[in-house]
Symmetry: C2
Subunit: 213 residues, 2 copies
Amino acid sequence: MPKETFFHLPEDKRNLICQVALDEFATHSFDRASINRIVARAGIAKGSFYQYFENKQDLFRYLLQLIAEEKRNYLAPVLHNPERHDFFTLLRELYRAGIQFAVEHRKYAEIGRRLLASKGTPIYAQVVDEGMPQAYDLFKGLLEKAIARGEVRADIDVEMVVYLIAALNTLLLEYYTEHVTWDYDERMFDTVDRFIDFLKHGLKANESGGVSP
Amino acid sequence: MPKETFFHLPEDKRNLICQVALDEFATHSFDRASINRIVARAGIAKGSFYQYFENKQDLFRYLLQLIAEEKRNYLAPVLHNPERHDFFTLLRELYRAGIQFAVEHRKYAEIGRRLLASKGTPIYAQVVDEGMPQAYDLFKGLLEKAIARGEVRADIDVEMVVYLIAALNTLLLEYYTEHVTWDYDERMFDTVDRFIDFLKHGLKANESGGVSP
DNA sequence: ATAGAATGTGACCCAATGGTCATGTGACCG
DNA sequence: CGGTCACATGACCATTGGGTCACATTCTAT
C-alpha cells in the first residue's frame, strides 16, 4: 500500500497519478506496464514515485483495491437482501450490475480482465489468491439455497455449476462488450435475459414440439 | 517459419530444440519466455538459433503449427462424418476429444491456454486472428443444422450460443484439469456428460415437480 | 532568518532481453 | 592440399526496465 507521502499530496495530483496508472495497466499486461511511462505521463520524478509506492506491485495492488471498492458499490444493492428474489432473478441482477460497472468503468473492467487472464504468471499468484474463494462461496451459498427452495434442479453437480456461473459472469461481459456494444441500454437487458434463459432452460428442443419455455 | 538450416539439423537435435522451447512457452507467457534460456537448455549457440528461426515469434508460430496439427488428429475422427450424430452427442465427442488431447499433451494445452488468455497483448493480435473464425464457423454450422433438424431450440440467439459453446469448450477443460484430475478416465466421461446435460436442460427445476430430464 | 524535516529530482545502477556480427570450424570437392 | 560453403560460436550492441541514491528544493516551526 502507498506510503504516507502519497496521501500528503494534493488531491488532484494523487488523482492524476492514479488515472495515468490506470491507463497504463488497462493498456498493457502487468509485465509490460512501465513505470517509466507512468512517471513521464504523470509528470513526476521517478524517484518520487518510490516515495509514494514501495514498487510496481504496490501501486498495482492499490489500484485493485480502488477497483474492488467501486465494484462493491454496484453489487451491494443487489446483495442487500438476496432472499427477496428467486435465484435466476438474483443472478440476472448480479450479471446486470456487473455489466453496468464495466461499461461505466471501462478501464477498471479491462484491468480486472487482464488480471484474471494472467493466471500462470507471477503477478497472478501474488495478487489473486484471496478474492476468488469469496466469490465462489457467495455463488455456492446462493445456489444451495436455490436448490433447497426448489428453484434449481437438485440433481446437478454443485461445484461444477458454481464454477460455470462464475465463469459465465466473465463470459457475458466479454460477449456483450465485444459482440454487442459498450453502451448500457436496452440491448444489455436483452442480452442478460438471453443468458439467463440459457441458464434456465438449456438448448435442447422441447420434445412435445412446442417452444421450450 | 523456420529456415532451411533448421530442417538440415539431425532429427534428435531438432526435437530437443522444440521440446525445450515447448517447455519454455508452457511455463511462461510469451513476453517472459526467454530465448537465452532456450538456447542454454538446448545447448546451442545463440547465433545458431537465429540461423534456424527468424526471431522469437517465428519459433512460437512454428510450435503453434505443431500443436494445431497434433490437435487435428484428435478432432478429425469426430468431425469425419458429423451427420451420424445428433448435435449433443457430437458436441460431447468434440469436448471429450479436446480433453483427451489436453491430458495427453499437457504442454500443448498450456501453451494454447496462455495464448487465448493473452488477448490484449501484441502477440495475440499478431498470431491469433486467423484460427478463431474457423472454429466459430464450425460451431455455427453445426448449430444451424441442429436447429433445422429440431434438436436445438429454434428461439435461441445463434451468435450468442455459438460464442458460449466455444467458450464452454475452454471452461470444461479448465474445470476438469483444475478441479477434477489430469487423468483420462471415467471421471472425464462423467464430467463431460454433466456439462452436456447442463447445455441441454439448463438449471431450472422442472415445474411438474419431478427431476428435470 | 534559520535549521530541520519533508519532498522532488534525474542521472545512475544493474540486470535482462532480443537480436547482430565478426570470427571460427568442419565437411566436402576438385 | 587449398578453397568454398554451411554451420557454429559467443561477445557485443542497443534498448528497456525496475529500482537507488546523492543532491536540490520547498515547507514548516521556532
